[in-house]
């Protein structure tokens, strides 16, 4: 059933509506929320919402509980290829928990949060941005990891990144929900403005597996679920561009690299020269790679999961 979670009047003859598809069966009070589209330029979650909705509508009899699918927390951003909320220059994922009597973004954030709160699990699907490609991964802060890690392992991702907490991240949807006791996992995968079907189907299997584990789904065949590499901040090596120019990768995404390998070149098309090479600072799995070629000094080129520190959970 399609429900409106929050709405606000735009200036001319239009309402902004945040909607969800609430699929319910049986007598279980359990509820899982699938949330995406906070950042309007991240579209990987669109395919997952479609595929999951279609699957559950077809297999409703196998469901015991409620699955709420929120495909677009920022509909105007999705419509206009904007990461933030159009007209506000605001990252929606910095507006939570919002307030009842706040501005339009704050009010919407508040109503979304109220609607999700109390769910057994919430999965917030992000898609990197237009600049970087990511392998399917879950990110969580150290304080939440004890609670969240068992669920993260059900989701068929390749990698779980347990990062240090930062005050600025306290305004995210995930932090607000986790603080309110609603277990929320943040997925990052693929690249902005595109759909990577292979990754979407991978995560879809993970979500079905989670539902089976929560005893909300029965009688279904789940393919073998991957064991993710779990890693702390210290195990991640960053490569930022050493120069301005055009980045051309030399290595394929998702491969294992050796320390000193050339990840790519920063070239200058005007002079026909190579400005700098981007070199791997350590050996390991290349789990982030730059997709958008134009770089300034500092633009993130790649992230590597250090081999020697793997599986340190």
């Amino acid at each position: 059933m399609i429900k409106t979670v929050s709405q606000a009047g735009l200036a001319v003859n239009e309402k902004l509506k945040i909607q969800k598809n609430s699929i319910k069966n049986g007598n279980s009070q359990k509820r899982v929320c699938i949330v995406t589209g906070t950042h309007g330029d991240e579209l990987e979650g669109q395919y997952i919402c479609y595929a999951l909705g279609k699957y559950l509508e077809k297999n409703t009899d196998k469901l015991n509980g409620t699955v709420d699918i929120y495909p677009a927390l920022n509909p105007l951003g999705i419509d206009s290829i904007m990461r933030g909320i159009p007209g506000y220059d605001l990252d929606m994922n910095r507006t939570f928990p919002g307030t009842e009597s706040g501005t339009m973004p704050e009010m919407i954030a508040h109503e979304i949060l109220e609607d999700i709160e109390g769910a057994d699990i919430c999965i917030d699907i992000h898609a990197s941005n237009i600049f970087l490609r990511e392998i399917p991964q879950i990110r969580m802060s150290v304080p939440t990891s004890e609670t969240l890690l068992p669920y993260a392992k059900m989701l068929n991702v390749d990698f779980v990144w347990v990062h240090a907490s930062a005050t600025v991240l306290e305004s995210t949807l995930a932090h607000s929900l986790n603080s309110a006791g609603t277990k929320t996992l943040v997925v990052e995968m693929g690249v902005g403005m595109r759909i990577t079907k292979e990754y979407c189907l991978q995560l879809m299997d993970g979500i079905l597996n989670l539902l089976v584990n929560l005893e909300m789904l029965t009688d279904v065949e789940i393919p073998k679920i991957r064991e993710p590499i779990v890693s702390l901040d210290g195990a991640v090596g960053f490569i930022n561009s050493p120069a301005a120019g055009i980045f051309v990768p030399e290595i394929s995404f998702g491969s294992t690299v050796e320390k000193g390998d050339i990840i790519g070149k920063i070239v200058n098309p005007l002079t026909g020269s190579t400005a700098e090479n981007a070199v791997a600072p350590c050996s390991g799995l290349l789990f982030t790679l730059r997709e958008y070629p134009v770089v300034y000094g500092g633009s993130l080129i790649a992230r590597i999961l250090r081999q020697e520190d793997n599986n340190n959970d």
Partner: protein, 315 residues
Amino acid sequence: MIEKTIFVLESVYREPLEVKAFCFGDMSRKTICIMGAMRGNEIQQMYVCARLVQELKKLEINGQIVKNTGIMVIPCANYHSMNIGKRFWAMDNTDINRMFPGYNLGETTQRIADGIFTEIQGFEYGIQLASFYQSGRFLTHIKQMVTEFTDDDGLVDFGLPYALKRTPKPYDTTTLNYNWQLWNTKAYSLFTHSTDDMKEDSADNAVNAILRFMKNRGIINYSIHPGYVTSVINESDMLQVHSPCGGICKIKTKIGDTVERGQVVAEILNPLTCEVLAEIKAPEKSTVFFHFESPLIVEGTVIFKLIKNDIIRGD
């Protein structure tokens, strides 16, 4: 005056971004730093700093800068965005003022923030010419984030009618103002009437407020009207009036006006028929501190910020 380039960022096809600082007095002393535009639409903020450069030049020539004090003015940290009409960083739309204290091995705007912060940390006083994300008009005022490091004596030395104290939210912790305070600088944000356009009278007020502060804090010898007796107000004590619907927004009052309880201060019209959808009434007798300014408005937008007359202190 010494002109200094404090940070350089190369670009593949554009001339490098060179952040310029103008220094006065004894530059071995870090007394006061004034930071202008960090966003591409902060034209007024850049202009106020540029005007200040002219004033300080004269004061320096006339020997009116107090011995053993150093003044630095950075009018514009982000003209790469300004030159192409963008508010945030040209390529990735990130906000330099959400990147402090910066990181020299991080992303581009983290590096810009780091490059600037390295130069401007350690000043005794820091003033940032700030802007609000929504279009509207403010009474020129000074704002300070309340942290455990806050020293609020200086708030009244600007001689502006109002000073606001703000309790920081999580997203404030990566701003310049907050980080300045973390590093022991007494930091203030100065808000002028507008952002994208240049308003001479408001720029005058801002320049005078900064000079008055410098005079009151013993940085310059200067004779200037003492200004107003400042009312210091907690931001959370202000009345916020939200628009109950979307439509065409007609403001019926001006900033600084005193409005009576129940007075109609704005109307929202149906944009297709001009039928009145809502009359916005002042909830209390108060002074108009901020009003929204744009022909179209969305439901929930803060249309007014009002200061209740009975909470005004200091006058």
